[in-house]
Subunit: 360 residues, 2 copies
């Protein structure tokens, strides 16, 4: 029996993709081998990787002037790799700080010797808001503007694409990629760890505009040198083959379900239902400003926080798993990525209502 898994990542995956993988786990395409066992340089796997990239390009509308890279090290690795590829020590970079993941990216940029200009910082709201559109200005001398479209821990999401004032816009899309259509052409670089909407952990996708490539700092590790990796079709060394393969299965599922417009409609409906229930309840609350609420990660509190462990345990027993809030903030958090069906959100709402009746 499958459960409704609200983990923030690694997270619930489409059952259809898992079942497809299972059906050929010891014999892929009649090869007599698992996809994990074939050479990454063989025709079969190269075709699989090409097809995966092609699906991603089609679904996201990625222009030919962008490279798609399949890397390792997670989005956290990119916190360092982006400065190494796009800047020289001492350069200035602009950041929007909307929470814990922004802060980690800022810390890494400083570690890489950059002058960080935080042009908007939502500390005053305790990171429950996004900056108002047009409320910040980016110095044209900055190498780029970095932001975090969706803060997985805070549950804060931008409702607009920030104006980078002519410098490249760089975005950590780890927890919101594929959740809706985005206009890739507005970005210089998009990166995302796979383990929310794209597949298993261990794969990181980087989408980078051609003109930003080719000036890595001396000492940039070869496996993180974007230009070198692009020239080698992400196979400068052995890529995470199973992750790329499973990403392909998941992209095919997204396509078959109607693509990103269908995902957006579904995700909006799920989020509306859950936030609507929370707001209508006198017992539960969500701290995030309504215009900045995440479609993907919904943190919530109950009026009796001493019952948080009881809530999580009883939900788990009811087949609604991994609802404990992030260790840094407590409470509960429901991550409702693409693979979570509306039925799972409704089951959570029903449970929450029942829990409130019994304990509120």
């Amino acid at each position: 029996m499958r459960v409704y898994n609200f983990s923030a990542g690694p997270a619930m995956l489409p059952l259809a993709a898992l079942e497809a993988a299972r059906s050929e786990l010891t014999d892929w395409q009649g090869s007599g081998m698992s996809v994990m066992e074939v050479s990454h340089r063989g025709k079969a796997f190269v075709a699989c990787a090409d097809e995966t990239e092609s699906l991603l390009r089609d679904l996201m509308g990625i222009g030919d002037n962008y490279k798609v890279l399949f890397l390792q090290g997670g989005a956290s690795g990119q916190f360092d790799a982006i400065p190494l590829n796009l800047t020289a020590p001492g350069d200035s970079v602009a950041f929007l700080n909307t929470g814990q993941w922004s802060a980690k990216a800022i810390k890494a940029a400083r570690t890489q010797g950059l002058a960080v200009d935080v042009v908007a910082d939502e500390a005053a709201s305790n990171y429950t808001t996004t900056p108002a559109e047009g409320s910040f200005t980016v110095d044209p001398g900055a190498s780029y503007l970095h932001y975090t479209p969706n803060e997985t821990i805070g549950g804060v999401e931008f409702g607009y694409v920030p104006d980078a004032g002519g410098v490249p816009l760089v975005a950590d899309f780890s927890s919101t990629i594929l959740s809706r259509p985005i206009d890739v052409s507005r970005y210089g670089l998009i990166y995302a760890g796979a383990q929310k909407n794209m597949g298993p952990s261990g794969l990181c996708v980087v989408i980078v505009r051609d003109d930003l490539l080719g000036h890595p700092r001396p000492g940039t590790p070869a496996v993180w040198d974007y230009a070198a990796m692009a020239a080698a079709d992400s196979m400068l060394n052995t890529p995470p083959t199973f992750g790329i393969y499973l990403l392909g299965k998941i992209l095919a599922w997204v396509r078959d379900e109607g693509g990103l417009p269908a995902m957006a409609e579904r995700n909006r409906a799920k989020a509306d239902a859950l936030y609507g229930f929370i707001d209508g309840s006198g017992y539960y609350s969500n701290p995030v400003a309504p215009d900045s609420r995440s479609w993907m990660n919904v943190p919530f509190l109950q009026a009796r926080p001493e019952l948080d462990k009881t809530f999580v345990a009883e939900a788990d027993a009811a087949g609604l798993t991994t609802l404990a809030g992030h260790r840094s903030v407590g409470g509960m958090r429901a991550s409702i990525y693409n693979a979570m069906p509306i039925e799972g959100v409704q089951a959570l709402i029903d449970f929450m209502a029942d829990f409130e009746r019994r304990n509120g």
Copy 2:
């Protein structure tokens, strides 16, 4: 139908491990979730990672004064990460150069600003030998001595542990880890990409002695900072969970088969059979010096190289796959890691004999 897969990596995996993974791919331990879908910080996965590390420690006899890290980026990533963690720019490091993987590690060390002292270089034999034991001396001022116990492309393997003259010994065990017992206590650092004897690609294991930790260069990416990763049990960021899980399955298989002594006995028998056949043939040849032949990777040539494509295609049709030699050297190569049974090697020998009869 499963084939005998001679790929150099990603490579053949034990069928028992794949079948175990398949049986629980959508419902791990009765959780209603795939192991790929559970939080890496949840109790179940933490226990899985702990058990995997414990199995590795037991099988390899890793002392308590060593940390075991599960990282990303492959062994190639470690070519940079090792200098970043163990040296300062301008430091001197010693290398043994026995082929293409040694050369890549040397190149990265130079990129990281190190003074590389190649204390033995097998260029004179076109990298078909290992340096004679005792034929080189390591400057005691070197930060470490690096070598490649097994060259996957050249098929050259050390029959002894080099004397590092008092400095830490660092070794890229990617293609020979778990193939036999090794005395870990003689090493300062052992690293290995998983995709030969340990599991799927995308996981890299680093075994490092405590006293070498704690002096990373400024700017070392956090996900490659050994001390920080050790302090976080390799979960500073999301680890490649499926790879760690499958490594656990494969280690359990190694244990159940009799551990590393049993692997050594089996691997020696496989290598002896294949080299014995090649040497006894007037048609096939292996260029490597007998005392330096790899148990894992057996490159071979035939007297009529114009038939190489025919050989590979006919072998493939007979269920003996991925026998083409590395693109840089041509000919054929049979990689016979732990998961390759003696029956597979015998089937290859039978095919080779038949091919020679028909074409020799």
